[in-house]
């Protein structure tokens, strides 16, 4: 292999990237945009759900109950309304995600030890949120209810408190259950898919379309030199973008980073080779730039988004899909990322992910190398 020829191809690719404003935007701006977008834009957390209240009782007891809702981090009692239609309207137009109706005889029934019900109306159009909201609301009311019962028992002289079992939850690795910490590491996989696969999928196809490939293959340059020369710039850019995105994650979004920086670089480099090889291969077989880029998006970006565990947990998926994720390189890379950022797992524990990733790297690199031939027909 001739280093001069390899360098000539690489230099040409760099110049072409720098002169093409579209590529420049993709390599420089898109990664940052993606990190910020997913960091801020996707919020799976439920905090401060707006609640409207229709308190028909207006007593000390109803106020106590409402204070508990207000005290909960999950609810934000925004407004008190004075009739039922106003409450339903607030749900219709989205000002409230939940509406609470306290019956007119609430305090009387509580004082007399009678079963009492509080109505909660929930906006079910987002059923994920609705389910969680209902759960939280029940917990708040349950807490209030237990306290009332204990007071009642105390007032009748039964002081001994029965033992109760409660669940003390401690969330490891992501104490605040901040979804940004959960999501942002995975964004690196997305960024690499776009740069590694999407951009490179255009590279071979474009030369055929413009007519320069016919000329190129009549020169002594070898397929390996063409491949390495074209992919090297994207590799460098990709690694640079990984570091930039990691820094934004750590210092801007305060995502904890507990693992080894070396492991991050090595696994990112491996995944980079994977997506580059895929992109190159797609460019060779794709035929036209249009077809190649669409195939690239379908095969790399989309699975990385939906099935890699980046946003949606793999364990929650149907079994068939879980099996499918096993053949997605992105799944292993995202897993490594989360472990490095959040768990700080020692490298030994990462082998379950790194080994499959390494296998993919080798196989795809070989596939790409053998796919390109200097022949027409």
């Amino acid at each position: 292999m001739s280093f001069t020829r390899f360098l000539a191809v690489a230099r040409k690719e760099v110049v072409q990237i720098l002169r093409d404003s579209r590529s420049l935007i993709i390599v420089l701006i898109m990664p940052v945009v993606l990190v910020l977008l997913f960091g801020y834009g996707v919020n799976l957390d439920l905090k401060g759900l707006p609640v409207y209240v229709y308190d028909r009782d207006g007593s000390q007891q109803s106020q106590d109950l409402l204070k508990r809702f207000q005290a909960s981090a999950y609810f934000d009692v925004v407004r008190v309304v004075n009739d039922y239609p106003a409450l339903t309207r607030s749900l219709d137009d989205g000002h409230a995600k939940m509406g609470i109706v306290i019956p007119w005889d609430f305090s009387e029934r509580v004082r007399n030890g009678l079963p009492t019900q509080v109505q909660a109306l929930v906006d079910g159009s987002d059923d994920n949120t609705a389910n969680v909201a209902i759960g939280y609301a029940q917990a708040v009311v349950q807490g209030y209810s237990s306290d009332i019962q204990l007071d009642w028992l105390r007032n009748r002289g039964q002081v001994a408190q029965p033992a109760s079992v409660s669940v003390e939850t401690r969330t490891w690795y992501n104490e605040d259950l901040e979804s940004s910490a959960f999501i942002v590491p995975g964004v690196l996989a997305l960024v690499m898919s776009v740069i590694g696969a999407f951009l490179t999928s255009l590279t071979i196809a474009r030369e055929w379309e413009r007519g320069t490939m016919e000329h190129l293959i009549s020169t002594p340059v070898t397929p390996l030199e063409i491949m390495l020369g074209k992919l090297a710039p994207y590799f460098v850019i990709g690694m640079f973008d990984v570091i930039v995105c990691a820094l934004i994650a750590i210092y801007w979004f305060q995502v904890p980073f507990r693992g080894s920086f070396i492991t991050l670089l090595v696994s990112s480099a491996m995944f980079m080779v994977v997506v580059l090889s895929l992109g190159f291969f797609i460019s060779v077989i794709g035929g036209s730039q249009l077809a190649a880029s669409q195939i690239a998006l379908l095969i790399t970006f989309l699975p990385a988004f939906l099935l890699s565990g980046f946003l949606y947990s793999i364990e929650q998926m149907p079994v068939v899909l879980q099996w499918i994720t096993r053949i997605l390189p992105a799944r292993y890379y995202v897993s490594v990322l989360k472990k490095i950022f959040l768990k700080g797992s020692p490298t030994a524990l990462l082998y379950a992910d790194l080994v499959p990733l390494a296998v993919f790297t080798l196989v795809l690199a070989m596939l790409a190398t053998h796919s390109f031939h200097k022949r027409l027909a």
Partner: protein, 315 residues
């Protein structure tokens, strides 16, 4: 001093088929060093396919080829160090400057920097492009793009150059410039194989192979080919070409007759005999005409004669 035993380019029985069509059918010819050899024929004759096979980028179905002594069928990569190929479509990078393109191809052929600088300066000057070094290739005019292609092709001093219709669509003045460069190259001993659909351009080649539907019609110098035609070609100048045609089209001895803008172009069996006959015909029908002269046959005449059989009519 020994003469090279092998011609710079040898094609032997080259054959290539695509679905539904045999593009090149057992083509054989050779090109010597310092010779400009033209593959001439209309679109679809097999010119591009032949050039691609000899450039080592398209394997033939049958036959062999060698370029600069290397077997292009079995060792195409070896041959590529010694040849340059200019495809029909502009093969350079439009988003790179003239200099960057030259550097790129120079590097691919392993030309050292100093040599490349010297050679490219010289070539660009000859092509009249010295002030355009920093211009993007995409911003050059059509004629200049062709010249740039040639400069990039020549930086590594190849022994063989393959050009696919390099002057198509280029105006006659730029075409003349281009040919001047080719003649200089030939004088330096480079073997040049070029293709063209412009039959009149064939006259500029040292030797010519006429192709039609993948087959070789004939191969020789233009002068010899015309001599072999064995027929006379007459030009009738008339202000009423249509009536002239009416009068002459059924006359004896004519192989072909074409209406031109200001007369007729007629291929006959015996010029000396037919001129007075035709003059007589036209005069008796009172058709105005200026002159009937014998002219040299054109390559087109040869082509039409070969393809259509060319038997003259008899009185």
């Amino acid at each position: 001093m020994t003469e090279p035993t092998q011609a710079a380019i040898v094609a032997e029985g080259l054959t290539k088929s695509f679905p539904n069509v045999c593009a090149v059918d057992h083509l054989s010819f050779n090109v010597r060093s310092g010779e400009i050899f033209g593959l001439v024929g209309p679109d679809g004759a097999g010119k591009t396919t032949t050039l691609r096979m000899l450039a080592g980028i398209m394997p033939p179905d049958e036959g062999t080829g060698s370029v600069a002594g290397f077997d292009v069928v079995h060792d195409p990569e070896g041959a590529k160090h010694h040849l340059s190929y200019m495809p029909q479509r502009f093969g350079l990078y439009e988003d790179l400057t003239v200099d960057e393109n030259i550097r790129f191809y120079g590097d691919l052929f392993g030309v050292k920097k100093a040599e490349r600088e010297e050679r490219s300066t010289q070539l660009l000057q000859a092509a009249g492009m010295s002030e355009f070094r920093k211009r993007l290739a995409g911003k050059l005019s059509g004629g200049m793009k062709q010249k740039l292609g040639l400069v990039c092709a020549l930086t590594h001093r190849p022994k063989v150059i393959l050009l696919d219709e390099p002057t198509t669509g280029v105006d006659p003045v730029s075409r003349r410039d281009f040919w001047r460069i080719l003649y200089e190259l030939a004088a330096e001993g480079v073997a040049i194989l070029t293709s063209t659909a412009y039959l009149d351009e064939a006259e500029r080649c040292h030797r010519v192979a006429l192709l039609h539907q993948g087959k070789l019609l004939f191969c020789d110098t233009p002068t010899n080919l015309k001599a072999k035609l064995g027929k006379g070609v007459l030009s009738v100048t008339s202000s009423d070409p249509r009536r002239s045609r009416e009068q002459l089209e059924h006359a004896a001895g004519i192989s072909s007759l074409v209406l031109t803008g200001d007369g007729l172009h007629v291929v006959v069996d015996d010029a000396a005999r037919r001129i007075p006959e035709f003059e007589a015909r036209l005069n008796s029908a009172h058709v105005p005409f200026d002159a009937i002269q014998q002219v040299t046959p054109t390559i087109e005449d040869l082509f039409v004669d070969a393809v259509s059989g060319g038997a003259p009519s008899h009185a």
